[in-house]
């Protein structure tokens, strides 16, 4: 009986987790835009602008390429779903992840990979040049990011001796924030998530200049509802990455409901602040740098991977095991 | 050898060796053939003599057969072929006459060296004879190696054959008759076949030069 109750509460909490992510994602996007505007000495759109964009897109008529097949319409749905799946393993403000379990840190990257697969496929759907270009580059970036992301997380896994993200976050509380392997791992993840989020210097999220765009190139054929879904899932992905990074920098471990409503709210605010700060940081980075040529990207990502390896080595050295 | 005295034996051996060498050295097929006939006669005489001394009919019989069959029939056959093909010179190849003599000398030494372990054996002159026999066999092989004309190669075979008979003589005082006969018969048939072949060779190449025949390679 209470078994069932357990499951039900778990289910509800999970849905809540997802709902929170869904709500917060556009907000973060808006915030980042705003902060970029701040660096550009503009007033910029309101923070709520992304919500408005999405709702407008939802109302618009949808154009579909004559060459496209059913896969074209399937992609946005799967993309959103898969991104949410990735969200399920990310510990939220209360350090709790619905799908936390054995080795779920691999699940995070893999779910994002699923999204990438479908996106790149539908980039080819339109039979145009730009879609193909986008897919080609996205695949290229993808295969370079994967090792960095995974190794970065693995180092943390070694530090905390567990392979579940929730466990890692909890474990990191007891690790000093200036523990060198941890710092290096954070650097790695920071660099990688720039690439994952498709931001300068990897890719320019705002551009529609055909020859430079990567992510936008694949979305070129999309419009209306599908476009809304895609950009929404993109914002979610961004939120997830930043949240994860934030949790690693300032971990907030499991907060049981015993601390009471206030404590819970406090934790939420704390998480919000963390995310906001990181968001502002990325906005700053984006404003300070320029986009790199495609064939410069490998160096950047190789650096991140190398950092991860360095973190690993340093970890063992510090523990005196090499 | 009970009957023949040491010196006689050695003399004959010398003759055999010398004739063998001169076959290798001779420049005309005709001469070589003659030398070979001489040698064969010597061998058969040796066998005859031994037969007479030991008065073993078997051996005498073999000796006579040898005298007739080899010293008689074969030279005639070969001469006929020679006439048909009008070959005169032994075509030298690889080795000129002089150098071939040197090689022959070397082979003789090897033959003696090879037979050294047999010194212990009872019969006197045994080793000496065997060495000469093996030397003759080597000469025959050498002759076949370094001469172009088919007939000379046949001579080589015959020289080897002489060598073997000599060996047989020393080793066994006459092999079992059956074997002797068989081998002799084989030689005769062999020569006949060779003659047939060389006729065909003449038809095809209108010369007895073996060196033309190198189309089958690899």
């Amino acid at each position: 009986m209470d078994e069932l109750l357990m499951i039900l509460t778990r289910l509800l909490m999970g849905i809540g987790h997802l709902a929170l992510i869904l709500i917060a994602a556009p907000l973060l996007q808006g915030f980042i835009k705003k902060s970029k505007a701040f660096w550009q000495m503009r007033q910029g759109p309101s923070i709520l602008q992304p919500y408005r964009d999405l709702s407008k897109l939802l109302k618009k008529e949808e154009l579909i390429s004559e060459h496209a097949s059913w896969l074209f319409l399937l992609t946005p749905r799967i993309a959103l779903a898969a991104t949410l799946m990735a969200g399920l393993v990310i510990p939220n403000a209360w350090g709790w992840a619905p799908l936390s379990g054995w080795g779920d840190l691999f699940l995070f990257g893999a779910s994002l990979g699923l999204v990438r697969l479908f996106l790149t496929l539908s980039g080819l759907e339109g039979a145009g040049t730009f879609g193909g270009m986008g897919s080609s580059r996205e695949l290229f970036l993808g295969l370079l990011t994967e090792p960095g992301l995974l190794l970065g997380l693995i180092v943390l896994a070694f530090i905390t001796a567990t392979t579940s993200l929730q466990g890692i976050i909890t474990g990191l509380q007891s690790v000093s924030p200036i523990f060198i392997p941890r710092l290096l791992a954070i650097v790695t993840l920071g660099m990688v998530s720039i690439a994952e989020m498709g931001r300068i210097p990897m890719d320019n999220p705002d551009t529609h200049l055909e020859l430079t765009m990567i992510h936008e190139g694949m979305l070129l054929e999309y419009s209306g509802l599908s476009l809304a879904l895609l950009s929404f899932s993109e914002q979610i992905k961004q939120l997830l990455l930043i949240l994860l990074l934030a949790q690693i920098v300032w971990p907030s471990g499991l907060i049981s409901s015993s601390v009471g409503f206030l404590g819970m709210f406090g934790a939420l605010c704390f998480a919000g602040v963390k995310v906001a700060v990181l968001g502002f940081f990325y906005a700053t980075v984006e404003s300070l740098f320029v986009k790199r040529r495609l064939f410069r990207v490998p160096h950047f990502l190789a650096t991140s991977t190398a950092t991860a390896v360095l973190a690993l080595v340093s970890l063992w050295i510090i523990r005196g095991q090499i | 050898m009970s009957g023949i005295s040491e010196n006689w034996l050695n003399l004959v051996l010398l003759v055999l060796l010398a004739s063998g060498l001169s076959i290798v050295y001779s420049s005309r097929v005709e001469k070589a053939l003659n030398w070979w006939t001489v040698q064969t006669v010597a061998v058969s005489l040796l066998i005859l003599a031994q037969g007479i001394y030991q008065n073993e009919l078997e051996v005498i019989f073999v000796g006579i057969l040898l005298l007739i069959g080899k010293a008689g029939v074969i030279p005639i056959l070969l001469r006929r072929v020679l006439k048909e093909s009008k070959t005169e010179w032994v075509g030298e190849i690889y080795l000129k006459r002089a150098s071939s003599l040197v090689v022959a000398g070397g082979l003789t030494i090897i033959a003696y060296d090879v037979t050294k372990p047999l010194m212990a054996l009872p019969q006197s002159g045994f080793r000496n004879g065997l060495a000469v026999a093996i030397a003759l066999i080597f000469f025959g092989l050498l002759l076949m190696m370094i001469r172009k004309v088919a007939i000379v190669q046949v001579l080589g075979i015959l020289l080897i054959d002489n060598g073997i008979f000599l060996a047989g003589f020393f080793l066994t005082q006459g092999m079992p008759l059956l074997v002797e006969m068989g081998s002799m018969f084989d030689i005769l048939v062999g020569i006949v076949i060779i003659v047939i072949l060389s006729k065909q060779m003449l038809e095809n190449y209108d010369s007895l030069n073996v060196d033309h025949m190198r189309s089958l390679k690899g």
Binding site: - | V114, T115, P117, L118, A120, L121, A133, I134, I137, G140, L141, M144, A150, Q153, G156, I157, I160, D161, G163, I164, A167, G168, L171, T172, Q173, G174, M175, P176, L178, V179, G182, S183, F185, D186, V189, G190, I193, I194, I196, L197, Q200, M201, E203, N204, Y205, V210, M213, R214, S215, L216, G218
Partner: protein, 484 residues
């Protein structure tokens, strides 16, 4: 008795060259040969040994093995050549009158080989082997064209020289044995010799063995005395090539084996001769890789592979361990069957295409599917691929090689075999597939498959070895390793 059959048949052949007559006479002779031969073989294997005429003729397991090879293959080949030679005459390659000479010589050839395996006397054996040379020379030169004559000449000269060495060796043995067995035939009787083997004079026997080995070795075709072999085999009419490759070589090897089993008992010790045999074997095996890889002429290809297999046999027998000799004896039989089959099928192919050059044969499978199938079977058989019996025999020879602590040599042998396999496969693939030439007239009857009989036997023996055969082989092993 069957020797008589053979001789009589040979003479009979000379009477007339009419197709029907020859067919009749041959088939009668074959039937008699099979009956008498089969009976002898059976007697021998059941009683362990069998003699005829107060032991003038005498067979033990080893000679019976050879006897069976001779009989089987002789029947197979002569039946084939009845059809083959007819076709030759038909295509004006030969005048009909020479046909009788062909059969005359072929039967003489068979007779001499039968003599070799039937006599208990090393001297007579020598006579027989020299006889085979003489009998086959004119068969090799049967077409009387330039190449044929050349081949015949080389064959005759080289083999005669070799054989005379063997005679010298035999004499040396006689000299060694005479003091103990008396100045008579007995002194060369391989039934008697083992009894006095350890008293024989060492040096004489040693010299004798060496000369004989080289002499008969030339006949077996060990490298470097093999030079005559490819020429003769490629120039002779295909049935004759089959006989030469599949039977004659084995007969010469048989002579060597007699000496071998004798020498093992003398003071020279068991592996004095074995070592020399093995080194000859390895030389043959290794050098053949080159010849087979780069070959153009299909019959020469087969000839070289015969040399290779003689090498394998030499290794097997030379090792002198039980299983190696077992494998070698099996291999002797199987190689005979396979090689005869290959020569026959390739012979008919050469007749059909009118060339021996492999680059000129293409797309056999399309034109003559049945020939193609048999060729594939033969290819697999000759390269010792499962499920063929040759795999079994080669494997057990190699196993023996390993047992004697020559793992490296074993590995090299394996490597050579593989390279040879690669060569064969390459050539046969080239021949079997691709675009056939217009000149071929396609179509053949299913009856072609009858030719596959021997290789099918090899196939069956690969899947399982009947007890009877196994016992027979064990007897052979006993003969070779344990004297009489």
């Amino acid at each position: 008795m069957f020797i008589g059959v053979a001789v009589i048949a040979a003479v009979g052949m000379l009477v007339s060259a009419k197709d029907t007559y020859l067919k009749l006479l041959n088939s009668v002779a074959l039937v008699l040969l099979t009956l008498s031969g089969g009976w002898t073989i059976r007697q021998t294997f059941t009683q362990g040994s069998y003699q005829y005429g107060q032991g003038i003729l005498y067979w033990d397991a080893l000679s019976a093995l050879l006897l069976s090879v001779i009989v089987i293959i002789a029947v197979y080949v002569i039946l084939f050549s009845l059809a083959y030679m007819e076709k030759e005459v038909h295509e004006k390659k030969l005048p009909r009158t020479r046909l009788k000479w062909y059969y005359f010589w072929i039967w003489i050839f068979i007779a001499t080989m039968l003599l070799v395996v039937s006599t208990p006397n090393l001297g007579v054996m020598w006579v027989g082997i020299e006889g085979t040379t003489l009998a086959t020379t004119l068969l090799v030169g049967f077409y009387r064209n330039k190449k044929a004559v050349e081949a015949a000449w080389k064959y005759l000269i080289l083999c005669t020289v070799g054989i005379s060495f063997a005679l010298l060796g035999t004499m040396l043995l006689f000299a060694a044995a005479a003091p103990h067995l008396g100045q008579s035939l007995i002194a060369l009787d391989w039934r008697m010799l083992p009894k006095v083997a350890n008293q024989l004079d060492l040096n004489l026997v040693r010299l004798g063995v060496l000369f004989t080995l080289v002499g008969y070795g030339a006949k077996v075709g060990f490298v470097p005395m093999h030079a005559w072999l490819p020429d003769a085999h490629s120039q002779a009419p295909s049935p004759v090539s089959a006989l030469l490759s599949a039977v004659l070589l084995n007969c010469a090897l048989y002579a060597i084996l007699r000496w071998y089993s004798l020498t093992r008992l003398t003071a020279l010790g068991p592996d004095f001769m074995g070592k020399i045999l093995m080194s000859f074997g390895f030389l043959s095996l290794a050098l053949m890789v080159g010849f087979i890889l780069m070959q153009k002429d299909v019959k020469r290809l087969l000839a070289y592979s015969s040399v290779e297999h003689m090498g394998i046999l030499a290794i097997g027998f030379g090792l002198g361990t039980k299983e190696a000799v077992w494998g070698a004896s099996l291999h002797l039989l199987l190689h005979g069957l396979t090689k005869a089959n290959l020569f026959v099928i390739i012979g008919s192919l050469v007749q059909k295409t009118g060339t021996r050059q492999m680059p000129r044969m293409r797309g056999i499978f399309k034109v003559w599917p049945y020939t193609g199938i048999i060729m594939v079977l033969g290819l697999l058989g000759i390269t010792g691929t499962p499920p063929f019996g040759t795999f079994r025999s080669e494997l057990s020879i190699l196993a023996g090689l390993y047992k004697m602590d020559h793992p490296l040599l074993g590995f090299l042998a394996l490597l050579c075999l593989t390279l040879i396999f690669a060569g064969f496969l390459y050539h046969f693939l080239q021949m079997l597939f691709g675009k056939p030439r217009e000149s071929y007239q396609a179509g053949e009857s299913v009856s072609t498959l009858v030719l596959a009989a021997p290789i099918l036997v090899v196939l069956v023996l690969g899947l399982f070895i009947p007890q009877s055969l196994n016992q027979a082989l064990n007897q052979v092993v006993k003969v070779i390793l344990g004297g009489v």
